[in-house]
């Protein structure tokens, strides 16, 4: 029996990582965001899990252009940081947990999720920026092993929000049935509203983002019922990344307790959000 102790939802904008890597976090543009992170980081430092599961998407860095998995899981012992075109971020590589990965894989396959399996995988900013949001000074190693779960959010047709939420619920059952670790942290990444290309580039929708931040805590089913088209219209073509928060939320209890949340515009071209939930009964 393992237990999800917390869920952390956070944007993974590359420039958040770049601001940290270049020591620009006190810069007036960035300070409000990083000040906002502080209470979450302090709490997380006091609540280190045995292992973490990080739900993210690759941005044409770890996976070749000619293959797009809808849902994938990594089963490696170690994940290297990808070179995205300007060298690797100066952060530690990631230790995996193959035994737990295979347990999750078997369980999800038997619940009719058709996963793609990566026995080797380089992870990009979609993965490392959330780790840095969680742990700004990792030193030589991240706080615990981390298992990647990858979701296609960049090429149509993405999985529906409902399918992502169902995946999270099945993931929660897989975790509950595993004896190899005790405590699990789960991260859902991406968002919030943003659009990078085309005439709507720079689009931000704070109304939708605030609704989403509220509903991800109290009424995730409502978010699971939105269509792909609604996400793209309301949150922008890249804001559909928010469906990955639903995988995290699905793995948690019906009732969660909000530890902290932040909303900030802009992080580069994006609205950045963070929401941290304690999954333990009060």
């Amino acid at each position: 029996m393992s237990e999800v102790i917390w869920g952390l939802a956070t944007s993974h904008v590359p420039s958040i990582g770049a601001a940290m890597d270049r020591g620009m976090t006190a810069d007036p543009v960035w300070a409000p965001l990083f000040e906002g992170y502080r209470p979450a980081r302090d709490w997380l430092a006091q609540n280190r899990p045995d292992v973490a599961i990080l739900v993210y998407n690759d941005h044409a860095n770890g996976v070749d252009f000619d293959i797009v998995p809808t849902f994938a899981i990594g089963t490696a012992e170690k994940y290297q940081v990808a070179d995205e075109g300007f060298g690797r971020r100066p952060v530690p590589h990631i230790e995996g947990d193959p035994d737990f990965s295979f347990h999750i894989l078997h369980h999800l396959m038997d619940e009719n999720f058709d996963l793609t399996v990566f026995s080797e995988l380089d992870v990009d900013h979609g993965f490392t920026v959330p780790l840095s949001v969680w742990t700004p000074e990792p030193g030589d190693a991240w706080p615990c092993p981390v298992i990647p779960i990858m979701v296609n959010v960049i090429r149509y047709p993405q999985p529906t929000a409902a399918r992502c939420y169902a995946l999270g619920q099945a993931l929660g059952r897989a975790i509950a049935g595993y004896d190899g670790v005790r405590t699990v942290g789960i991260l859902g990444t991406g968002g919030m509203s943003h659009q990078l290309a085309g005439a709507r580039a720079g689009f931000i929708n704070p109304t939708f983002d605030h609704m989403f931040l509220e509903a991800i805590e109290k009424d995730p089913q409502k978010l699971a019922e939105l269509s792909r088209e609604e996400y793209i219209r309301e949150a922008g073509s890249e804001g559909i990344e928010l469906i990955m928060w639903l995988v995290m939320r699905g793995a948690m209890n019906a009732q969660v307790r909000k530890v902290h949340s932040v909303y900030h515009v802009p992080a580069s071209n994006t609205a950045a959000g963070l929401a941290l939930f304690d999954n333990r009964p009060a």
Binding site: F65, A197, G202, P266, S268, A271
Partner: protein, 94 residues
């Protein structure tokens, strides 16, 4: 075209590309329009000709250009104007 952008993840490929861009393009059996868009850094044309933003951005990064610069190009603003629009809360009306 996305395959070409993808190849720029490798340091050695970036060097080869910069040494002779046209020759590098020829290796990927692109259309003339695609080649011209890349050589001329016509970012909107790259999108229109099937390029995906995350791939196109790899070329922009190589050129030292930011996503905010590209945002300006796509919306008819300078980079400074686009940045100012983001600092003012982003484009909420599109």
């Amino acid at each position: 075209m996305n395959k070409l952008f993808m190849s720029l993840r490798e340091e050695s490929a970036r060097k080869e590309f910069l040494a002779d861009e046209a020759a590098y393009c020829q290796r990927f059996s692109l259309s003339e329009a695609q080649c011209a868009a890349i050589l001329g850094r016509d970012w909107q044309a790259m999108l229109d000709l099937g390029g995906s933003i995350f791939y196109i951005y790899k070329l922009a990064m190589m050129d030292g250009l930011s996503m905010q610069y590209l945002g300006g190009v796509f919306t008819g603003m300078s980079e400074a104007e686009f940045k100012a629009a983001m600092l003012a809360g982003g484009r909420t009306d599109v």
